[in-house]
């Protein structure tokens, strides 16, 4: 379990990083929590690793224009502990479920997005909130809506010669409420099923994860005083439609659909209550 030989490069500027990526056969190294095991097991063998963790400008964690901007080098644990990030409450709800604290102290928010595990929490949060991902390549910068960012299991809209430089989450507005829940075999495992919810007025947006090859976003219109029992027919139907996986020994397809139906109803009610408060 030792990596095959590779070159390591730590560029001084984003442009330089993009140049290296444009050369081909290169992979971005940020927190390394998913990439390094892949290298060690020789499941991937890029010729060059481009370490972006010290690039100037990628460490920003600020609110600009009603958006929380998280640079590509910002660790999950930094976000979890920052006062600034509380402007996006859903991130705080989701973060305790992202691996374990030790992993979050190394892993980055953008790295989680770029890795695009179907059961990961942060891509679902980004999709639920309608976040946007900033991507830089040789042809310049572009912004990809989070809901279009993940294109399949472990695949994204980022080109091999491009670099995610940051993500912007809309900050919470008055009258919004949020919910987040997942069920995993053990605390810290990837979710068997999970849901991120935002409620505004009678409109609920939910992003389901762990149940398909990417986060699945659906919208529901709520009755004035929604209850779990009242919502279950709708969320169970939604779950039956959304769950698109054969399942595995940890969670069969049917079990994941059961969980999604339950969690969606619970979290919509919670978010609605919060929105009303």
């Amino acid at each position: 379990m030792k990596a095959a030989p590779f070159a390591y490069c730590r560029p001084d500027t984003v442009d330089e990083a993009v140049d290296v990526l444009a050369g081909g056969d290169a992979k971005v190294l940020a927190g390394g929590q998913s990439l390094v095991p892949v290298l060690a097991m020789r499941l991937g063998r890029p010729g060059t690793l481009v370490d972006i963790t010290r690039l100037p400008g990628l460490d920003s964690l600020v609110i600009e224009d009603g958006q929380l901007h998280v640079g590509a080098a910002v660790r999950q644990r930094t976000v979890e502990r920052s006062d600034v990030a509380r402007a996006v409450p859903l991130i705080g709800r989701a973060m305790p479920f992202v691996g374990h604290r030790e992993l979050r102290s190394r892993g980055t928010v953008c790295g989680s997005l770029a890795h695009a595990d179907p059961a990961a929490e942060l891509p679902a949060v980004a999709a639920c909130l309608g976040a946007s991902v900033t991507v830089r390549g040789a042809r310049g910068e572009r912004v990809v809506p989070a809901r279009e960012f993940v294109t399949g299991a472990m695949t994204t809209a980022v080109g091999a010669d491009e670099l995610v430089t940051g993500v912007r989450f809309p900050v919470a507005r008055a009258g919004e409420g949020f919910g987040f829940a997942e069920i995993a075999r053990r605390h810290g495992d990837y979710a068997l099923a999970g849901v991120a919810v935002r409620v505004r007025g009678d409109e609920a947006v939910l992003a389901a994860f762990g149940v398909s090859d990417r986060p699945v976003v659906r919208e529901l219109t709520l009755d004035p005083d929604p209850t779990e029992a009242g919502l279950r027919p709708a969320t169970d139907a939604l779950a039956a439609e959304v769950v698109d996986t054969d399942g595995d020994a940890h969670g069969s397809r049917g079990y994941r659909a059961r969980l999604l139906g339950v969690l969606a109803a619970r979290e919509i009610v919670r978010a609605h209550r919060e929105a009303q408060a």
Partner: protein, 793 residues
């Protein structure tokens, strides 16, 4: 805040001061090995091309099938079925992860680079993964020369089984399966091996985190064709856990010794986690059926038991011992006069199995204790009451299979469990939950916990008529060396190869207490060297041997040392040595009250042995042995007392199952243990907790699964889930009764495995009880939300 370590070992371990095999660098110029492994569950090896790997810069040697075939003899097996087992695949590979070649290089990176250059021409063959499928006619054969996948098939009958079933008011049956899982030690396998050729032939010196059974030493030496006297094994003082799993390391010792021979240098191999989960060892999976002949009042009059173990691709010694380790206690906690047994081990295209904490017990009791719940259901009795009616009451108790339960008070332990665990309270919770349509269940398990294996059970795999006269096996002898130095400090040298249990702490206290010394005046050495540490064929750390056997040998050794010290004191005190008492670091004449220091008495023996009375013992270093009584070979009728001591565990689990998510929550775990005399309550509690969590792993999380095509599907920690600290925060009630063993000097029995045997079935019984209203059968593990959902659908 200050911290007082509970054990002598702890301070070093928690400050990075432990010395594990990978910390040792015993020989200069040691090279590093990596192993090429089969990606196929079954394939003919048509050819292997090692040229490119050998030519790779930094590579010293590459060995493959030709080298192994030429130099290694198949390991001696405990049956005659032709299923030859070598440390690597030669003509064929039979499980994913089976070694095929070894690359020796200057470092592990280079070695793994060169592994990719080894070209193996595989011809994939048909695969059999499922235990029942392996039994069927026409199944793909793992070893075609055997003509069958059944490695051993024996039937036994004791007492009037047929009569009991004919008379029975009820015949209760159950079929169960038990999964493969491990203990997942933190440290993986590690070996340093050095082959040298001398004028009188080859020698092998190796370092490994091997912990026995030392029956594997002649097995490994025999495979290499090296006399045992020239096969020298060192085991470091620290092993990072094993729980039996590391007994499976010996084929790698052989493989690395051969690699060293070809490299001309010492070779180190450190197993990584992927290798460990793929191909080290696990407990055997089992398919079993049980039947009980039950009287009208719930008494079990006879059992009929059919056990089929999946031992993987080879019958790797000490398999098929999973079938026989609990032979003497196969009737468990119950007074059952008759039992019929069929015991089979089948080979499949899975990794070989072996020891795993509880060895054979968790498999056996899963069947027996699920069956007792079925007996309760059939007779309409409460699950506690039906067990109580069947308990063994009088000790010593001879079981129909030959076991001799040395001591116990099972009824008292059960009563204590029900009282302290709050059985009635949990039943009330269940009633309340059911009234709300929720799931709540209570599960019990009573298990007899054997310790101090009698190697004689190995003979049972061979029919009595084929067992050779004069070649019987029995016993479990332990030897300990003790010495006293010029300053009166006593050193106790153990060959017990601990893996974290705290043997040094307990042995030190036992020796100090016996010699009347402060613990500071006793030192315990646990590094093992087969050239200098006393050992026997049954040495090792397995079958909870330490408390019953090793401490008994410690006492024998220090008692002899005490004789020497008394002789020295007799010179200083001017009295006869007999009757002198050792206490408070002194030797005292009870008649006069005169005394001298222990160290002065020892000093006389060191400095002035000429002054000793004629014939007085002057052994400054001596050995003591413990040869367990009642551990004799299997009888011609195949009865065997398979262990020296038999402890007891009564366990209760309360579970709540969320009606929506079907998540199972441990509402309460209660456990009562009887390990005879308690040597150290803190260490005992640690063993109880550790075994419980190990059992929880098998009950709810862990399983080595394979796809129907034979590919492992739980070969990383992403899929092989062990309980973590977050899963262990369940409410626990733990207590003890103590029935000292009459067979050990201290009355101590083993205590390292009990709840590993009881928890899996107690949990299953609780889940089954919770789901009783839904009417679904629970006959396997692990049990978690997804499994329950699929059963309910």
């Amino acid at each position: 805040m200050t911290w007082t370590p509970a054990r002598d070992e702890d301070a070093a371990l928690v400050t990075g001061g432990g010395r594990f095999v990978d910390d040792l660098d015993p020989l200069p110029g040691t090279l590093v090995a990596a192993v090429v492994r089969s990606p196929h569950p079954h394939a003919r090896v048509r050819g292997v091309d090692l040229a490119a790997a050998r030519a790779h810069p930094g590579v010293a040697a590459v060995i493959g099938p030709d080298e192994v075939r030429a130099a290694v003899r198949p390991f001696p097996l405990s049956t005659t079925t032709p299923m030859p087992y070598l440390p690597s695949g030669v003509d064929a590979v039979r499980y994913v992860g089976e070694p095929v070649a070894v690359v020796v290089a200057r470092d592990r990176y280079v070695a793994e680079d060169a592994c990719e250059l080894v070209e193996v021409d595989y011809e994939p063959l048909d695969v059999v993964v499922d235990t029942r499928a392996a039994l069927r006619d026409g199944a793909p054969l793992v070893h075609p020369e055997a003509g069958t996948n059944v490695a051993t098939d024996r039937t036994f009958s004791f007492g009037d089984v047929a009569g009991a079933f004919a008379r029975a008011a009820h015949v209760v049956r159950g079929e169960y399966t038990f999964p493969r899982y491990s203990s997942v030690p933190m440290e993986c396998y590690g070996v340093v091996a050095h082959w040298t050729d001398g004028a009188d032939g080859p020698s092998v010196e190796c370092w490994a985190n091997f912990h026995g059974p030392f029956t594997m030493v002649p097995v490994a030496a025999g495979a290499l064709g090296v006399p045992i006297s020239r096969f020298r094994l060192h085991v470091p003082a620290d092993i990072g856990g094993s729980f039996g799993i590391k007994s499976g390391i010996y084929p790698y010792v052989v493989l690395m010794a051969l690699a060293s021979k070809h490299a001309g240098r010492p070779v180190r191999w450190t197993e990584d986690r992927v290798e460990h989960l793929l191909a080290s060892s696990s407990g055997a999976g089992r398919v079993m059926s049980f039947a009980a002949a039950v009287s009208g009042d719930g008494a079990v009059e006879a059992l009929d038991v059919d056990l089929v173990d999946d031992v993987g691709a080879y019958l790797r010694p000490p398999e098929p011992s999973t079938l026989y380790r609990c032979f003497g206690n196969i009737t468990g906690a119950y007074d059952v006069p008759a039992v019929a047994i069929r015991a089979r081990a089948v080979v499949t295209h899975r990794a070989p199995t072996g020891l795993n904490r509880g060895f054979g017990g968790q498999q056996l009791y899963f069947g027996l204790e699920r069956l007792m719940d079925a007996v309760a259901a059939r007779t309409g009795l409460d699950v506690a009451e039906v067990r109580r009616r069947n308990l063994v009451r009088a000790f010593p108790h001879r079981t129909p299979t030959g076991g001799l339960y040395d001591s116990g008070d099972y009824a008292a332990a059960l009563d204590l469990l029900l009282a302290k665990g709050g059985y009635d309270e949990l039943r009330a919770r269940q009633e309340a939950a059911r009234a709300e349509g929720a799931f709540y269940g209570v599960g019990l398990a009573l298990v007899v916990d054997p310790s101090g294996t009698n190697i004689g059970y190995v003979g049972l795999a061979t029919p009595a008529s084929e067992r050779k006269p004069g070649r019987d096996k029995s016993g479990s002898t332990e030897i300990v060396r003790a010495s006293v130095d010029l300053q009166g400090v006593v050193t106790v040298l153990l060959g017990s190869v601990p893996q974290g249990q705290g043997h040094a702490t307990v042995a030190r206290r036992v020796a100090a207490t016996r010699l009347g010394l402060p613990v500071e005046q006793v030192r315990v050495v646990v590094d093992m060297d087969t050239a200098s540490t006393p050992w026997t064929v049954t040495s090792g750390s397995y079958s909870s041997r330490f408390a019953p056997l090793v401490t008994s040998a410690v006492i024998a050794a220090v008692d002899r040392l005490a004789e020497t010290v008394r002789a020295g004191a007799s010179v200083l005190l001017g009295v006869a040595p007999d009757g002198l008492e050792l206490a408070d670091g002194s030797v005292r004449d009870p008649a006069s009250g005169a005394s001298c220091l222990f160290r002065h008495a020892a000093g006389v023996v060191h400095w002035d042995p000429g002054a000793l009375p004629a014939g007085a013992p002057a052994r400054l270093a001596t050995e003591g042995e413990f040869v367990p009584p009642e551990a004799v070979a299997a009888t011609a009728e195949d009865r065997i007392n398979s262990s020296l001591c038999y402890g007891f565990v009564a366990e209760m689990v309360g579970v709540r199952i969320d009606a929506d998510t079907l998540e199972v929550t441990l509402d309460r775990v209660a456990t009562v243990h009887d390990a005879g005399t308690v040597l150290d309550p803190v260490l005992l509690e640690g063993q109880v907790l550790g075994a419980l969590v190990h059992g929880l792993g098998g009950a709810a999380y862990e399983e080595f699964r394979y796809s129907p095509a034979g590919q492992p599907t739980s070969a990383t920690f992403l899929d092989y889930l062990c309980p973590t600290s977050a899963e262990t925060a369940f409410p626990l009630v733990s207590d003890h009764v103590s029935s000292p063993s009459p067979l050990t000097p201290l009355g101590a029995k083993g205590c390292g495995e009990g709840s590993s045997m009881s928890f899996p079935v107690a949990y299953a019984n609780a889940v089954a009880d919770a789901l009783h209203p839904a009417g679904i059968p629970i006959d396997h593990l692990p049990l978690h939300g997804s499994v329950i959902h699929d059963l309910l659908m």
